[in-house]
């Protein structure tokens, strides 16, 4: 482990984060609100500290980094970015205690969308924009963005990329990692811009449209309104947001293929088919359930609200247009299942990811098959390609760890005095990077009432979920630190 180099890169990331604060600052100046001063202070502090680390450790530059160092850089980088991103909140007013500011910031960067704010609308515009903007930065990955922008990350870029985007089968769109990162960000920015325009056409103000565009493509879920998207009460806006949430839940390399003129890209990909099929079937089930329970009286309403909630949860965005806790039990259970299922690998969504669930089912089937034909030699295939043993092992390990960490965190959170349903819902919603959970942290409530220690635990869960467990957890393994 070459610590000098690790701190050097983390310093560069912090410095870079400081530069991005110019976006909310400009907004603060425009509206001349109270966010200007805290933003200037945070920006100065972030740039100075990041720059100082970067310069102080520049002698540690090396030509190549190991996988281990890549993981350390990504985990430390994300933690540092979470803390420095919290500065504008922390310095804004005396009401913000440290844990709340960090919770809000990490919830932003990890695109969870869980908030401790009871009155979002009271926040100055500059801070509201910062809240949405960090989701946008975190969605495609702050490291991926750095690889695209900072040339000196080029050589070690692959290790960092693998640690931040730990898809079971990593794709490289272009031979060079830097080109891949640039393409991903371009596609991401293009979709966000398209959504911004469509939202404004639906009558949203520029500010609200910008904030929501910043939080939809990363499947974040921060809204500028206390009642989330329900505030706007427009079927058009609901469907625009549903459309872009679905896009965000699809593997970005498929978007790239589509934009390059392969219209069948979505259809050819098994995982994408599975994801879209799941969205369709679950929406229908929930809509029928809502109709039969007479929550909504027209088919149109049932589909509009049913689809929004299903898509919002399965893509792990977390916008709300209805209080699903008042829905019948089957719908609630479907949404709970969606929390675990999650979006596609290679998308900005969280959760366990469809690909892993598919592979897990295929593996189970193979085991059953082997009971019938004990001497059969079988391989697991996905879309005609054989899935290697290594990949399969890492997928099963991931699922086991996911469930285990979920279980342990729930017990610990309940130990801090949180009730059963809330503890269950809060951990599921943070480890899956969704946002709203069940109980006290349901879609019309927030995380303000969770005890302080519980909030730290959930912050950790959010990081675990965003970096897909292995990258974070490896730092807790003693072998990792051994020389």
């Amino acid at each position: 482990m070459r610590w000098q180099y690790i701190i050097y890169i983390v310093g560069a990331l912090i410095f870079f984060l400081g530069l991005t604060m110019v976006v909310p600052l400009a907004c603060g100046f425009l509206y001349a609100d109270q966010s200007v001063l805290p933003l200037i202070k945070s920006m100065a502090a972030t740039i100075l500290i990041g720059g100082a680390l970067f310069l102080a450790f520049r002698k540690g530059r090396v030509a190549n980094i190991s996988q281990r160092e890549g993981m350390a850089i990504v985990t430390l980088g994300w933690t540092a970015v979470g803390f420095f991103g919290a500065l504008p909140f922390y310095l804004a007013s005396g009401e913000w205690v440290l844990v709340d500011a960090v919770f809000e910031s990490v919830s932003g960067f990890t695109t969870t969308g869980a908030s401790i704010l009871t009155n979002i609308e009271a926040l100055p515009k500059g801070l509201l924009l910062w809240r949405s903007f960090i989701q946008w930065l975190g969605g495609m990955g702050i490291i991926v963005l750095s690889i695209a922008i900072l040339p000196f990350l080029g050589v070690g870029g692959m290790q960092l990329y693998k640690a931040e985007v730990p898809s079971p089968v990593p794709d490289k769109l272009k031979p060079r990692i830097r080109d891949t990162a640039t393409i991903l960000w371009k596609v991401y920015a293009l979709f966000s811009a398209a959504q911004l325009i469509l939202l404004m056409l639906g009558g949203m103000s520029f500010f609200d449209a910008l904030c929501h565009a910043f939080t939809t493509m990363p499947t974040g879920g921060f809204s500028t309104m206390n009642t989330s998207v329900a505030h706007f009460d427009s079927a058009y806006l609901d469907f625009v947001i549903i459309f872009f949430m679905v896009l965000a839940g699809i593997n970005f390399s498929l978007h790239y293929q589509l934009l390059r003129g392969q219209p069948l890209a979505f259809w050819r990909d098994r995982e994408c088919r599975f994801f879209l099929g799941a969205v369709l079937v679950l929406t229908l089930l929930v809509s029928c359930d809502l109709l039969s329970a007479e929550i909504y009286t027209t088919i149109g309403d049932a589909i509009r609200y049913g689809a929004f909630q299903v898509v919002s949860i399965i893509t792990t965005t977390g916008f709300a247009t209805a209080d699903y806790e008042a829905w019948p039990a089957m719908s609630q259970h479907i949404l709970l299942a969606c929390m675990f299922l999650g979006a596609s690998a290679g998308s900005t969504g969280g959760g366990m990811k469809c690909l892993r669930i598919m592979l897990c089912f295929k593996y189970c089937y193979k085991e059953l098959f082997a009971l019938v034909h004990p001497r059969a030699i079988t391989t697991i295939k996905l879309g005609g390609h054989t899935v290697s043993e290594d990949v399969m092992r890492s997928v099963l390990g991931f699922l086991a760890l996911y469930i285990a960490l979920f279980g342990i965190s729930t017990i610990v959170l309940a130990g801090f005095g949180v009730d059963f349903v809330t503890a269950f819902g809060a951990v599921a919603a943070t480890i899956g990077n969704i946002g709203p959970g069940f109980g006290d942290v349901g879609p019309v409530e927030n995380y303000a009432r969770i005890p302080v220690m519980g909030k730290w635990l959930l912050i950790w869960c959010m990081l675990l979920g965003r970096l897909e467990i292995y990258t974070v957890l490896i730092l807790l393994v003693p072998e990792f630190w051994r020389k």
Partner: protein, 454 residues
């Protein structure tokens, strides 16, 4: 620029690494997923698992956008087919095949000129034999390269502690050398390669690279206190393809030659094909056999078996038993840095030769030859100065050359100029440029036609 490499063996691996460092888009194709993992873990390239001769794999790899296809697997047949298939899919891609079978030797030109789907055929073994011959002929040299059809040589020699030049600054050099044309272009000190300036000093133990005209080479070497000893007796250990080729060449020059080969079957083949060479059946690391064959009187021992460790040990043993010098074939790149430490100075590598030959074809502009120096930290290249390129028409000191690169020679017709800051390169001059690895992409830009960038 996109380059497809078929075969992730040692040659494919190192070329991919070189090109990735120079910011080319590289895709490596191989059937062996373990070989690919080694590639993708160590460098920023894309890897595709599959057969390089399969049309669907080549399409997936993006053959249509690729400028160059390098077919460098172990099998000649696969390489040929890969080029053929690639040509069907993308005729505009330049295709290069590595072909090692000796049967193909006389057809290389035919391949280049008449076979439409292959642009270039390379056989590193031919290059290796040439390198061995050069090393034999230049006393004290550990590295010899040629430019301008052999009229200019670049030579690497170790500076002995008692040499005249030890401790001398480069700016004082003309006083010692007199009017002989000698230019020191690079110094390797403690595994670091330096492109020196006038202020730099030469220290004992340095590996010094210099450029000299062929006819003055022996004078130049005498400055380094290396004196010519004629090569009369050679022993080759390992009668494989390279050993056989070398023996044929030596026979042609009437040099007395012995081959030791382990396999009796191969020995009889060699004995049939060679006329004057003595073919010995035995183990090259067998001390008795070496003594029996008067190893002490042998001028040069060349170890060419397929086993690296055997080559190293046989060379050390032969030197100990009194052989004049030993040239060792080593393929594993990771051994190179160790060689000086264990006392093996002259090393040849078919893979390095393959890489050099291939690089020459990849470089932009009108590049005539390119050679990479020890440890791959630098390259020497010979290029035609295009009329539109930036190096033409200005005194050298006014050209914004990348750091770590120098013009080491200018060839204008029959004249050879060892340049100074005031020399001006004219269109169609051939220039020899030494460049550190980090400066190579900058050099490429200066040499290439500017229009390519619009």
């Amino acid at each position: 620029m996109k380059v497809l490499i078929v075969g992730a063996g040692e040659v494919g691996y190192h070329i991919a690494g070189r090109l990735a460092l120079e910011n080319k888009e590289v895709v490596v194709i191989d059937k062996d997923s373990d070989a690919l993992r080694r590639v993708s873990e160590n460098m920023d390239v894309q890897t595709i698992n599959g057969s390089g001769s399969s049309p669907s794999v080549l399409t997936d790899a993006g053959i249509r956008e690729a400028e160059i296809l390098l077919a460098v697997t172990n099998q000649d047949e696969t390489n040929l087919v890969a080029c053929l298939v690639a040509d069907l899919l993308s005729p505009s891609t330049k295709k290069l095949a590595r072909i090692r079978g000796a049967d193909f030797d006389q057809y290389h030109e035919t391949f280049r000129e008449q076979v439409p789907h292959i642009d270039t055929v390379i056989n590193p073994e031919i290059e290796v034999v040439k390198t061995i011959e050069r090393l034999m002929r230049v006393p004290g040299a550990v590295d010899v390269g040629e430019f301008a059809d052999g009229r200019i040589k670049f030579v690497g020699v170790y500076l002995e502690p008692d040499a005249r030049l030890a401790g001398v600054r480069l700016s004082e050099l003309p006083g010692i050398v007199g009017k002989r044309r000698l230019l020191i272009v690079a110094v390797v000190r403690e595994d670091e390669l330096i492109i020196p300036t006038g202020k730099d000093q030469l220290l004992p133990g340095d590996l010094v690279y210099f450029i000299s005209e062929e006819k003055e080479l022996h004078d130049a070497l005498s400055i380094f206190d290396k004196h010519a000893e004629p090569v009369k007796r050679v022993m080759i250990i390992g009668g494989g393809r390279i050993g056989y080729r070398l023996a044929v060449q030596l026979e042609a020059q009437s040099i007395y030659c012995k081959i030791i080969e382990k396999s009796a079957e191969r020995c009889s083949v060699l004995a049939e094909r060679l006329n004057k060479t003595i073919v010995l059946h035995g183990d090259g690391s067998d001390q008795n056999l070496l003594n029996e064959e008067n190893i002490g009187d042998i001028d040069v021992v060349v170890t060419l078996t397929n086993d690296e460790e055997t080559n190293i040990l046989s060379s050390l043993l032969a030197r100990r038993l009194g052989a004049g010098k030993a040239i060792t074939k080593i393929s594993k790149f990771s051994y190179f840095p160790l060689m000086t430490a264990i006392g093996i100075e002259q090393v040849v590598s078919p893979r390095l030769s393959a890489i050099n030959t291939i690089l020459q074809h990849i470089r932009r502009g009108k590049l005539l030859s390119a050679v990479s120096l020890k440890g791959e930290q630098a390259e020497a290249m010979e290029a035609v100065a295009l009329e539109t390129s930036e190096i033409v028409g200005k005194p050298l000191k006014k050209i914004s050359f990348p750091k770590g690169a120098i013009v080491a020679g200018i060839i204008r017709g029959d004249e050879i100029i060892i340049p100074t800051g005031d020399s001006v390169i004219e269109p169609n001059d051939r220039t020899i440029i030494f460049a550190h690895r980090s400066a190579i992409s900058g050099i490429e830009k200066i040499l290439a036609v500017k229009l390519e960038y619009f």
